[in-house]
């Protein structure tokens, strides 16, 4: 344990002691999510979204396993099997709507969690590995959600599968064979549906595994905090349990209120009407859009309308879309400012709130809108800023910006009094 003052696990019962000597699961939980994990005392509510994402992953896995008990991954009956769940299976509608809306809430939590990291510099040393693993989780979650959306085999499922695998076609020379390899055919059909189901079932468990590594890596330096100042001593921390278990707990309740309000009263608000039409390979919906959580990336994809020398616009769009996420992998080395928290970086703060956030909002809006003007032009501007922000603004800013003075310690920041005794 990296904090010498962390509370030590003491089994309460004889059986607990017996277990602890043989398989110390209790100790593991105690040290990672229990009283044995000292946590900065000044975390704000932006630090709640990690555990919330975890809760929604559990919701997805539980409801998903149940859906899989009734779902049939066969192109002829997949659509009807989902309707069978909705109409005939006991509480089937509830489980399906929980799963469909749970995906959205999972992404809401994950986006706020990532946003927290971007603003408070959580990706900086010594937490690079936590950040990298987080990006991996996000990529896996996108793959999972995409393949899940294909399963009901409605019009959007089918055409989404076609369009997204079509992205790979943009790769020179090997593109077409890769698309055919992914689909197991020339268009999405049984082969694609079955492998998507298999992977959709598998990947959430891979995500769970990466989350374990993510938390493992977190426990080396411990959580960061809104000041970005490292923990200096015992007075800066409180034990995770009961302090943060209680805080996470009530916040999960709050989130569930929003979640259940969605799933019981407006379950299809985030979905698309066309997905209630069975897949038809011969007729494309007027307006193909992915789920809302992909909209910003979709806007970047569509922003590229011109070839560059010998590189076709299609390939550029695909490259840009993947780069837009991959750039996060390099973030710890692009932003070299030693100050973590945006609160103490006056210029960074401006670029964040008036540059990055509106830019992503515009991209999100345009990605869901039809591919028409002025949306294409708007997404071009926003895409320009998106790349500029990560690749130009952040590297340069860390050289020229003069940060505001940092508090000496977390305790000082909380109480406004300098620290009396340091340990």
């Amino acid at each position: 344990m990296s904090f010498p003052w962390a509370q030590q696990y003491k089994p309460a019962t004889e059986f607990g002691q017996w277990m602890d000597d043989r398989l110390p699961i209790g100790r593991l939980v105690y040290n990672s999510l229990g009283a044995g994990y000292p946590t900065p005392r000044n975390l704000n509510y932006m630090w709640n979204f990690g555990s919330l994402a975890g809760v929604f992953l559990v919701v997805q896995i539980v409801t998903g396993i149940i859906l899989a008990m009734h779902y049939a991954a066969n192109a002829d009956i997949a659509f009807d099997s989902v309707e069978h769940i909705m109409r005939d299976v006991n509480s089937g509608w509830m489980i399906r709507y929980a799963h469909a809306n749970g995906a959205s809430f999972f992404f809401i939590a994950i986006y706020l969690h990532i946003g927290r990291g971007l603003y408070y510099g959580s990706y900086k040393a010594p937490r690079e590995m936590i950040w990298l693993l987080g990006v991996v989780i996000y990529l896996l979650a996108m793959a999972t959600a995409f393949m899940g959306y294909v399963l009901p085999w409605g019009q959007m499922s089918f055409w989404g599968a076609k369009v997204i695998t079509g992205l790979f076609e943009a790769i020179p020379l090997v593109g077409k064979p890769i698309q055919e390899l992914l689909l197991g055919g020339f268009a999405p059909d049984n082969a694609a549906l079955n492998r998507f189901f298999s992977l959709h079932y598998l990947l959430p468990f891979v995500i769970a595994g990466v989350i374990i590594m993510h938390i493992w890596a977190l426990h080396i330096p411990g959580s960061s905090n809104p000041t970005g100042v490292s923990v200096k001593g015992k007075q800066d921390t409180v034990p995770f349990h009961p302090f943060y278990t209680a805080k996470d707990g009530w916040f999960v309740g709050l989130a569930l209120i929003f979640f259940t309000a969605m799933m019981f009263f407006m379950p299809n608000a985030l979905g698309h009407a066309d997905n209630y039409i069975p897949a038809n390979p011969l007729s494309t919906p007027a307006h193909i859009v992915p789920e809302w959580y992909f909209w910003p990336w979709y806007a970047i994809l569509r922003a590229f309308t011109f070839d560059f020398l010998f590189v076709p616009a299609k390939l550029l769009g695909v490259l840009a879309m993947f780069s837009a996420i991959l750039v996060w992998f390099f973030l710890p080395w692009l932003d070299r400012s030693p100050v973590r928290s945006g609160d103490y970086r006056p210029r960074f703060k401006k670029f964040f709130w008036f540059g990055l956030i509106p830019c992503i909002a515009i991209l999100g809006y345009c990605g869901g809108a039809p591919a028409e003007e002025p949306f294409v032009m708007l997404s071009q501007l926003a895409t320009a800023y998106y790349f500029a922000h990560f690749l130009i603004v952040l590297p340069l800013l860390s050289r020229i910006e003069k940060p505001e003075p940092l508090p000496n310690s977390i305790t000082e920041a909380v109480t406004g009094k300098p620290l009396q005794q340091a340990s």
Binding site: I257, L391, I392
Partner: protein
């Protein structure tokens, strides 16, 4: 190194985008996009409400039965509701015997195999059967309908952007094509002008043509608007039979969660009281 290449890549993508934006903007100004004709003449669904709307909405079984009657007498010859079973009609308030009779007398029989010869045949439906499809397959449907396939209506109110109000508007919204409609957008042979339909021209002839097309047994006056509304209400039910149950469950869940969350919040407050008090003390 990372930053050096990063800036180069950033300049490339940002430059591409600024360039594309510039060309797009010039194009936009010199050649402003015109709204497609469909957009100019298209109308949003009428403002109509249903008893099942809103968080406290409930189905009106009388209305659903009337809607079923309209479906049966007007729509069923061309449109199926293949996801709905006869037994589900019990939810509209029909008795077991009524459901049995409806199933047995349904004009289209359920496909079956002759037990003696093994050849394809049909038999009268039983409550456990789904509503048989009016056409054996899409080819037959297209052949019988001037090449247009009448969609199945089970999910129609969920499968169209405007939901039930859209269905209502479409059914009650046929008009003559306006005089200023360009020639290219005028309904061709076999098509019918309807401003609520996405491309304005629809292969379905106006199905509800005049008052008293059906005779309601509950004495409701069968106006065009009434029939359109009743059948739309029925199609809300076919698309989401558990709609009311969903809302009722939702209220129970919300009430529970609200109390649980308040308790959890109080518990959180009391657990943190010490830490916060310490902070206050130091501030004082």
């Amino acid at each position: 190194m990372v930053r050096f290449f990063g800036i180069l890549i950033g300049l490339f993508f940002a430059g591409m985008m600024v360039y594309s934006f510039g060309r797009g903007a010039v194009e936009y100004i010199s050649n402003p996009p015109v709204k497609a004709v469909e957009y100019q003449f298209h109308e949003e669904p009428k403002d109509v409400s249903f008893k099942s709307d809103g968080p406290f909405g409930k189905f009106d079984n009388q209305q659903l039965q009337r809607g079923f009657q309209v479906y049966k007498e007007v729509c069923a010859a061309c449109h199926g509701i293949r996801l709905v079973a006869f037994r589900n009609l019990a939810e509209l308030g029909y008795s077991e015997d009524e459901v049995k009779a409806i199933a047995a007398n349904w004009p289209i029989e359920t496909p079956d195999i002759d037990p003696n010869t093994g050849e394809a045949s049909t038999r009268p439906s039983i409550p456990a059967d789904k509503f048989p499809k009016p056409f054996a397959n899409n080819v037959a449907a297209a052949a019988a309908n001037n090449n247009a396939i009448p969609p199945d209506l089970s999910l129609i109110t969920k499968a169209r952007e405007g939901g039930a109000p859209y269905v209502y508007s479409l059914l009650s919204g046929y008009t003559d094509a306006p005089a200023e409609l360009p020639e290219a957008n005028r309904p061709g042979t076999g098509l019918h002008y309807n401003p609520y339909f996405a491309n304005l021209n629809l292969a379905m002839a106006p199905p509800i043509t005049g008052d008293d097309q059906v005779t309601y047994s509950d004495g409701t006056k069968a106006t065009v608007s009434q029939m359109a509304q009743d059948v739309s209400a029925f199609l809300i039910w076919t698309a989401e039979p558990s709609l009311i149950k969903q809302k009722q469950t939702g209220w129970a869940v919300l009430a529970f969660l609200l109390i649980a969350t308040i308790l959890a919040f109080l518990s959180y407050k009391s657990i943190w009281a010490d830490v916060k008090a310490e902070k206050k003390k130091k501030e004082a």
